[in-house]
């Protein structure tokens, strides 16, 4: 029973960290219409920044400043936000596809740095001994798990409330208006771009915060944690929940993580150990197909409230054959 509560707390903590990333993505995509396919890179930036700031001194690499965890998290948000702002600044005057490609590149480069800049990131083995909040409680796992859950829950709730507030502020309304009409957004020029860079940066900062929280929660990070599969998972979470809705983002994250963890547990029971890598890839195929099916059938997500509007009046292209007489 106690084990179950402990596992439940662990599961929820992970799911809520995913929720936090999804909330960041929802600000970028759901509210502003900016397509980020490199979000794993921003999460990694946050995790590594906080790790460098808070771990004890290590002669084998740079950093290890031993600062408090809160400073680490704030540092993560600043660096993640800056990275996102730079990315946005370079590409947001161009067609939306270019942002997608650039973010994809950011993730590739972050992965590369994490793997190869040994003196900074510890290389393929990553960074260990990342301080955990209330690490003294680690002797009693249940209490420790519950404390972690409480912290992550508090942060996610704060982010959720802040984002809800932002979405209904004048700032959020401008973003929505810009999303609805990309052409108007482009013609508004610099000021419109500035709004979108801000949204992209805040989204990036939230993702980086999630990365930092996860690092402090697990106590250990490695480049493998931030492969494109992470980006993919978070996208599925947002699309399932319904982009545009913060509550949907959280619900989608918990639901998809439950499916993911559940099917993962199932494959470990059903398949022999040597077959598990294969079974895991089948799991990804299933989720990939699910993403495509949702895009086709319910583009507003399972909890989405409002259809996304057609822009540019492109319906003119509908061929008469489809309407018939």
């Amino acid at each position: 029973m106690i084990d179950l509560v402990g596992y439940g707390a662990f599961f929820l903590t992970t799911a809520l960290i995913f929720s936090l990333i999804t909330l960041g993505l929802n600000l970028q995509w759901g509210l502003t219409g900016l397509f980020n396919v490199g979000l794993a890179g921003f999460v990694a930036i946050g995790a590594y920044t906080s790790a460098l700031l808070t771990t004890p001194d290590d002669p084998a690499r740079l950093g290890g400043l031993g600062l408090p965890i809160v400073v680490g998290c704030l540092g993560a948000m600043v660096v993640g936000g800056l990275a996102a702002a730079l990315t946005g600044f370079a590409t947001l005057r161009l067609r939306s596809d270019y942002l997608a490609i650039t973010t994809f590149g950011v993730a590739v480069v972050v992965q590369l740095v994490a793997l190869n800049a040994q003196t900074l990131t510890g290389g393929p083995f990553g960074i260990g001994f990342i301080p955990r909040p209330f690490g003294g409680l680690a002797e009693t796992p249940l209490l420790f798990n519950l404390t972690n859950l409480a912290i992550v829950l508090a942060v996610t709730l704060a982010a959720y409330l802040a984002l809800e507030h932002l979405a209904h502020s004048p700032w959020g309304r401008v973003l929505k208006a810009l999303r609805e009409d990309e052409r108007a957004a482009v013609s508004l020029g610099k000021s419109a771009r500035f709004y979108r860079v801000q949204a992209f940066a805040v989204g990036g900062a939230i993702m980086a915060l999630a990365g930092a929280l996860q690092a402090h929660f697990i106590g250990f990070i490695a480049p493998d944690n931030y492969l494109s599969i992470l980006t993919f998972q978070v996208w599925v979470m947002l699309i399932v929940g319904g982009s545009g809705s913060n509550a949907g983002a959280v619900a989608g994250s918990v639901l998809v993580w439950a499916i993911w963890a559940g099917s993962g547990a199932l494959t470990s029971v059903l398949f022999a150990p040597e077959q598990q890598a294969r079974a895991a890839s089948l799991q990804i195929v299933a989720i990939g197909v699910m993403l495509c099916v949702i895009l086709l059938v319910r583009p507003n997500g399972l909890f989405g409230q409002r259809p996304r509007q057609v822009r540019f009046g492109k319906k003119a292209k509908v061929i008469a054959g489809e309407s018939g007489s």
């Binding site: 596809d97 890598a277 294969r278 990939g288 993403l291 057609v310 292209k317 061929i319």
Partner: protein
């Protein structure tokens, strides 16, 4: 610095360029960045591999065509693989992309391609596992050609194949009615329809060309390096960078962009080490986006 990087760069550039042709065509005619394009490479390479294996099972061991490392089974396998990859692309278009296009939001199609890419890649991992495999394990002796440059017969053959394919596609798109229809579609799809161009036909041709060339690029990687489910995904950033560097919509641009990136990668590998290779495309991509987003041969978007 050894001049060997020129050969290495031209080869890498050929693979990138062949892939980038598909990327640039998809972008200019279907109007979205196809993140699944790299996976066409991998699927093409595996399809060819399966076909070569099937021929081996039917006819026994076939002697390679001296001095190459491969014989006619690979050539036949490549043709079958190209057809297979083209069919795969058409099927994907029918099931997914054409329906997503009807939602009239380019970025939704991009997202769909991202999901499809993940599914396609993992399906390969499921069937073939993530272990690398090879067309041939024979080691070819590289011939010195002067200036400290060495090249293998396979490499020479593949460079010629690339040149022939690029020339062919260039002629197809500039000198034939099909090519003019493709140009027309990329410049003004509504007017293209009014002018009597069968849009669905142009879309099919676009997929077939892009996918078939992706298959060739995948097989080249397979012959010269190795075959892995991730091989195409790893090519995605260089391909996008090449297409944008060359100017979206321009086929010569995609090839030149691919060669520049290939050469830059090979140079960087010599100077700072192979582990940083992937960063080269990103740096070039950012430089192009900041300095000249329309690329080398691009024209301003309407």
């Amino acid at each position: 610095m050894s001049l060997q990087f020129i050969v290495d760069g031209l080869l890498a550039g050929s693979m990138i360029g062949l892939g980038a042709i598909g990327v640039t065509l998809t972008y200019s005619i279907l109007r979205f960045s196809n993140f699944a394009h790299g996976d066409f490479m991998a699927w093409g390479a595996y399809a060819t591999l399966v076909c070569v294996g099937a021929i081996g099972a039917l006819f026994g061991k076939v002697a390679p065509i001296a001095p190459l490392s491969f014989g006619w089974p690979l050539i036949l396998g490549l043709i079958v693989g190209m057809a297979f990859t083209a069919l795969l692309a058409l099927l994907l278009d029918k099931l997914l992309f054409s329906r997503l296009r009807r939602q009239e939001q380019a970025i939704i199609v991009v997202m769909g391609s991202f999901g499809a890419s993940m599914a396609l890649r993992s399906l390969l991992e499921f069937v073939f596992t993530s272990r690398p495999t090879y067309f041939s394990r024979a080691i070819q002796i590289a011939m010195p050609v002067g200036l400290g440059i060495r090249i293998t017969p396979d490499q020479i053959a593949l460079l010629f194949l690339t040149a022939a394919l690029v020339l062919g596609v260039h002629l197809l798109t500039t000198r034939t009615q099909t090519g003019r229809s493709m140009q027309a579609m990329s410049q003004n799809p509504a007017l293209a329809r009014i002018a009597g161009i069968d849009v669905a036909g142009v879309v099919r041709v676009t997929w077939v060309i892009g996918a078939a060339l992706a298959c060739v690029a995948g097989v080249m990687i397979g012959v010269l390096v190795q075959i892995r489910p991730l091989m195409g995904f790893d090519m995605l950033l260089p391909m996008f960078a090449a297409a944008i560097l060359g100017g979206i919509g321009s086929i010569p641009g995609a090839v030149v962009g691919g060669l520049i990136i290939g050469l830059a990668e090979a140079g960087a590998v010599q100077l700072i080490g192979a582990e940083w290779r992937a960063a080269v495309s990103f740096i070039i991509l950012m430089a192009v986006l900041i300095v000249r987003p329309i690329g080398l041969f691009g024209v301003r978007e309407r």
